[in-house]
Symmetry: C2
């Protein structure tokens, strides 16, 4: 651990660098922060801090810049948590309450709001449960040769598929078929849909057994959630505002990464496994994505109903405003969890 004075100096460097993106020199610290010591003393301390790996000198005659290790120290020990302002709290709560019933709107607006408040890039992943199960299947006629299958899961996920056929059964038959399908497929895990079950359904469907295959496909597609975890991104353009990405090539690398859904998913990590753990901060090379080695990501999981978790992450340069982002993230996650709890009773 560092002595008090070194700590203060490191903190000063980090705060200044977060604000200005310019290397900080000893004289600047001496003038700006009233530590009661001269620039020469600060120079000595900075030399030590560099030897310890907390700060880096970009070139011989420049000031110092925090290293990943420096930020890590800051985040773990120096940073004080901040309360979100009343105004922002209200803003986020309104977003959540207005959109809580539409998971897609909620995610879209949440992502947008967070990137607006923080001026960084936000990614949000759809909530998932370990095992999604079907609660209800409904067949709805659309026209002479199309029916829509609507599948509702326990996670309020509603998926619909169009099924084309020569002649659509009448309303009554469709309703009966919906009942049969729901009865057999309700509460099943994918592994439990076996040949015997299929045979049973087919028998009961009778003349309409041609419907079975497309429905089963639709059900499997719906409950095997990995199939399409939605990820929402917002505020990618904010990247361009930071001097560290004023080189177009660097900016381009980040943008390419951000358009790769698979990369985003792995960056956010598995919300289910992270479910319980608190907010996480990955600094620079601590995340494994090569293109993101100059970025930090702060992420946390939110609870959206029983056993259902999603992840929200905010990406910015390593010199991002950790305090602010942590406050905003904690705020939004609490709002979502609270509103959901109030609605569903747990």
């Amino acid at each position: 651990m560092l002595n008090d004075r070194k700590t203060k100096i490191l903190e000063a460097i980090i705060n200044d660098y977060i604000a200005t993106a310019e290397p900080i020199g000893s004289r600047t610290i001496a003038k700006k922060y009233d530590l009661g010591i001269s620039s020469a003393t600060i120079r000595n301390e900075m030399s030590d801090l560099e030897e310890l790996g907390f700060i880096i000198q970009p070139h011989a005659s420049a000031g110092r810049v925090p290293s990943d290790k420096g930020y890590r120290m800051y985040v773990d020990n120096l940073m004080r948590e901040k309360e979100l302002s009343q105004e922002h709290t209200k803003y986020l709560r309104d977003i959540v309450t207005n959109n809580i019933n539409h998971i897609d709107y909620l995610m879209e607006h949440t992502a947008k709001a967070l990137s607006l408040l923080t001026n960084y890039t936000t990614i949000v992943s759809e909530p998932k449960t370990k095992y999604t199960i079907v609660k209800h299947i409904q067949l709805i006629p659309l026209d002479e040769n199309t029916i829509i299958s609507v599948i509702v899961t326990d996670t309020k996920l509603v998926k619909n598929h169009a099924i084309h056929m020569a002649q659509v059964p009448d309303m009554g038959a469709l309703h009966a078929l919906s009942g049969i399908l729901t009865k057999y497929l309700q509460n099943r895990l994918p592994g439990q849909i076996d040949a015997k079950l299929m045979q049973d359904i087919e028998n009961e469907l009778g003349e309409h057994k041609a419907l079975l295959a497309p429905i089963i496909d639709a059900v499997l597609e719906t409950i095997i959630v990995e199939r399409d975890v939605q990820v929402y991104t917002s505020g990618a353009k904010n990247i361009l505002a930071f001097p560290e990405f004023s080189d177009v090539d660097k900016a381009k690398a980040i943008f390419e990464a951000l358009e790769q859904k698979q990369m985003l998913i792995s960056l956010l990590g598995d919300a289910l496994e992270l479910g319980g753990t608190p907010l996480q901060i990955l600094i620079g090379t601590e995340n494994t994505v090569q293109e993101m080695k100059n970025c930090s990501i702060i992420k946390t999981t939110y609870r959206y109903g029983k056993d259902s978790y999603g992840t929200i992450g905010i990406i910015g340069p390593t010199r991002m405003n950790y305090v602010e982002v942590v406050a905003v993230l904690n705020g939004i996650v609490n709002h979502i969890s609270n509103v959901i709890k109030k609605l569903s009773g747990g």
Copy 2:
């Protein structure tokens, strides 16, 4: 109209500039294109072309660059349409056939495919009809105090809303209620939902009349399509690859514009009114968005079922490859219309 030689020179300048983004000089043309005239003659002709406004000299000792008027001439008179390669045709057709039943996947994958093929930015707007009408309303129980309302429209749009209540009616009641709601609200335009109709429904709903308000809200939200025209964007990062945007500030301006949904919608225009018209090309300042004055947009409408149209636009620098983009756009639009026609028989 220009004489043959001027035309050839203008064409050479435009082709070269599209390929290289560098101003073209008279010597370059003389060497590269075998026009049988010397650079001096070309200089004279270029001087005329500049006077006529088709090309511009960025500064006194530079070559020439096409003006918006030059591109307009090229697009209207010089450009030859190109067939899309077999490989790309197949690629696009597969995208369409694999996703045709999921309008959201279709749009997402179409946008992605187009930006991949063209290396420009793609925006796609959801198909709409002038008047969306409700075909079916279904209430589905989710848990003790939540039901899901599923609203299916004639455009295969399926929207769902969660409705929270103290005590959810049983399955049978929900089914009956679905029938009543469908009966009254089916085939209505928003303007036709008046006080009298509401009263009729309320009477028939009896003890469940508390359901009416949220359902009506959901229906209105669904059929008043302006409420949320979805717009999908893909390949924004491609902007960064063009030297005309190597200045980060210019790139940033474009990105900000691209994140404004309202701007995109107005840029694409009203698909319904454009429905019949062929592909459109807006060059540079011909579009009204200030930030896009160095960009061209090529857009066209696709037909997604009866009276249902959406728009696809591709945005690039004014020196974009018009020939290629036109071929790709015509290709995808035909695929979508054809597949839809085959499926729905009209």
